[in-house]
């Protein structure tokens, strides 16, 4: 690996942005490696769009540094390697799709046959073939999102910065865009995704940073970032006192069936559904074994996953609680 390849795609150090008395971004630091898909999650007003604006040179930092491929944001040669899709697809609506791409291609320094070739390629990539001569003013929001992505891909970027990719897209469009991004990532492109759509982040990103009130709360892989107890949903023919006793020995908590006896928490009317909170999912096998040993029929055993959204909200709530406790 060459020295150049060791330099992160994005390195942010003590980045701060202050608007009057409001600290929008408060000394955040992170590094995004090359070829990585990095997600930026946070509620409205968390400061994530401000970070994106500073990464793209739209807003100047109050303090701290940003390096893209080892260079400052202003470095023009480095900017040629970056593609950017803003959150709101507010483009010049009087332009036709082809004119729009030609103009932005020229700003990237593309000319002549290369520019024409790239325009055709990116239109095809985002599924807008045949729309070259249509005015952007007549485009739907989803189509604007696609043409916006097309202009961001004109220069074959090494780093793609996306601000809310799938807003305005229909389910088929969302699927197509996610698939396209996976392909781009597989081709070695680094992708920075700022999103409210947790499903996008979960589906695409290698690592995620959670930001709230201008500070990064957590950074890590989605699978490990929100680690915690797993909940198993068990459907059995009956719940006996013996089963409950043996399950309690290995479970963190048990939620008895809704139809259970109020005192003993047992159930005799099949099917009985139990929720068992365990330390890790691997304990499912032990639980199946216990049910079998108790002579009870097991209908189903499934891990009830907390959605990323729930975990994300939990992280934000925890941060708020910690802050209130600190105050």
């Amino acid at each position: 690996m060459t020295e150049e390849q060791n330099i992160p795609a994005i390195r942010v150090t003590d980045l701060t942005k202050v608007y009057g008395r409001l600290v929008a971004v408060d000394r955040i630091s992170f590094a995004m490696q090359r070829g990585e898909a990095f997600g930026f999650l946070g509620p409205n007003g968390a400061g994530k769009s401000t970070v994106v604006k500073m990464l793209t040179g739209l807003t100047l930092p109050t303090a701290g540094t940003i390096h893209i491929f080892g260079q400052v944001v202003d470095h023009l040669e480095t900017r040629k390697r970056v593609g950017y899709l803003p959150e709101l697809p507010t483009f010049h609506r009087w332009l036709k799709a082809r004119e729009f791409l030609f103009f932005h291609g020229q700003l990237y320094g593309l000319r002549g046959s290369l520019l024409r070739k790239r325009c055709a390629e990116v239109l095809s990539l985002v599924g807008l073939n045949g729309r070259e001569h249509q005015k952007l003013g007549t485009f739907s929001k989803g189509m604007l999102q696609r043409i916006g992505l097309a202009q961001a891909l004109l220069n074959h970027p090494d780093l793609l910065i996306l601000d809310e990719l799938v807003s305005g897209l229909d389910p088929v469009g969302v699927r197509d865009m996610r698939e396209l991004l996976r392909q781009l990532k597989a081709s070695g492109m680094s992708i920075f995704l700022n999103s409210h759509q947790l499903a996008d982040v979960e589906a695409l990103c290698d690592r995620v940073a959670i930001i709230n009130q201008g500070q990064i709360l957590k950074v890590g892989a989605p699978a490990t970032l929100f680690s915690g107890p797993s909940v198993l949903e068990i459907r059995v023919s009956q719940v006996s006192p013996e089963l409950l006793r043996r399950l309690r020995a290995i479970a963190i908590a048990i939620e008895p069936p809704a139809t259970a006896d109020a005192d003993e928490q047992t159930c005799t009317q099949a099917p009985c559904t139990l929720l068992v909170e365990v330390q890790n999912e691997e304990q499912a096998a032990d639980i199946a074994s216990i049910i079998h040993t108790c002579g009870i029929r097991l209908y189903s055993l499934a891990v009830r996953r907390n959605s990323l959204e729930q975990l994300f909200l939990q992280t934000i709530d925890d941060a708020k609680s910690a802050q209130e406790a600190h105050v």
Partner: protein, 302 residues
């Protein structure tokens, strides 16, 4: 050159705007109406002059010279208003709409965006002004045979007035929202001739001479005009253009034929030479204002 891409884009944008097309169409209609009206006026005026014993050729030339000043004032007014309406949102409207986001993030310097747009508007407004100016003078020449010797100098002065306005709107657009900038520019553009109008009016009513020559303005009035010209020198440039349109030799010749210089001492359109110091100030003005706009835009958050 990415700067030229922005210039080309600005051209494209303006040509597709309904405002510009509407102004061009209305200007063409105005020219046709003006030509017909001028012909009709001259047709009725010449026999009358001939019957009173004036030289027809000289009367035509005098008429052409007389009509050229208010006609070109109309050109100046139209170009000035177009410059304000077209460019008041040069930077602010794009910032407000968010369309700058994907341009500013591209590999180009921010000053190139402003410089490119400014250049685009210079060319568009410059061409509009030149075409309208030459069309009006062409019609006057066709009907009366009068063509000012210093027609190109007058055009230069008018083009500089547009450059001054463009510099102001460019800076205003980098500092204020579109509506605020437009309002400020209109007030400034109107206040300059208004100051001159008031001062000329005061001179006319206070003059005691019967020669037709106005008394020099008072010190207060002179200071007021000087300050106004420093803030918005468009009116000074217009009066300089008017001075180019009405040469002194022609005035002297007309004086021997019972015309007098006072014919041109009408507020708003009276010819007046500019000082060299003011000329240098205007050059600096045209260069410094867009530069300040570029500097401001380079430092603002989008």
């Amino acid at each position: 050159m990415r700067l030229l891409s922005i210039t080309r884009f600005t051209f494209q944008e303006v040509l597709r705007r309904r405002l510009f097309l509407a102004v061009v169409l209305l200007s063409m209609l105005l020219l046709v109406a003006y030509a017909l009206l001028l012909r009709a006026v001259v047709a009725s005026y010449i026999p009358q002059m001939a019957s009173e014993g004036f030289s027809v050729q000289l009367a035509l030339l005098a008429g052409g010279m007389f009509i050229s000043v208010p006609s070109i004032w109309l050109v100046y007014l139209l170009s000035g208003i177009l410059a304000i309406f077209l460019t008041a949102g040069m930077v602010s409207s794009e910032t407000e709409a968010g369309t700058f986001s994907i341009i500013v993030s591209k590999p180009l310097r921010r000053y190139e965006i402003i410089a490119g747009k400014w250049l685009g508007y210079v060319l568009i407004l410059g061409c509009y002004l030149a075409l309208l100016y030459l069309s009006f003078l062409g019609i006057i020449y066709w009907v009366t045979g009068y063509w000012p010797d210093q027609a190109w100098s007058a055009l230069g002065a008018l083009e500089m007035a547009v450059l001054v306005l463009l510099g102001l709107t460019t800076l205003g657009s980098a500092l204020f929202p579109t509506l605020v900038n437009g309002a400020i520019m209109l007030i400034l553009f109107i206040s300059a001739p208004l100051t001159n109008f008031i001062s000329t009016f005061v001179q006319i009513i206070t003059t005691t001479s019967q020669t037709g020559t106005l008394a020099p303005p008072s010190e207060t009035v002179q200071n007021l005009i000087a300050v106004t010209n420093l803030i918005i020198p468009t009116d000074a440039l217009w009066h300089q253009a008017a001075a180019y349109l009405v040469p002194v030799d022609a005035l002297n010749l007309l004086a021997t034929q019972s015309f007098s210089a006072s014919t041109f001492n009408i507020p708003l359109i009276n010819p007046q030479d500019m000082t060299s110091a003011l000329f240098i100030w205007i050059i600096c003005y045209c260069l410094v204002l867009p530069t300040l706009a570029m500097w401001r835009f380079s430092r603002r958050d989008l």
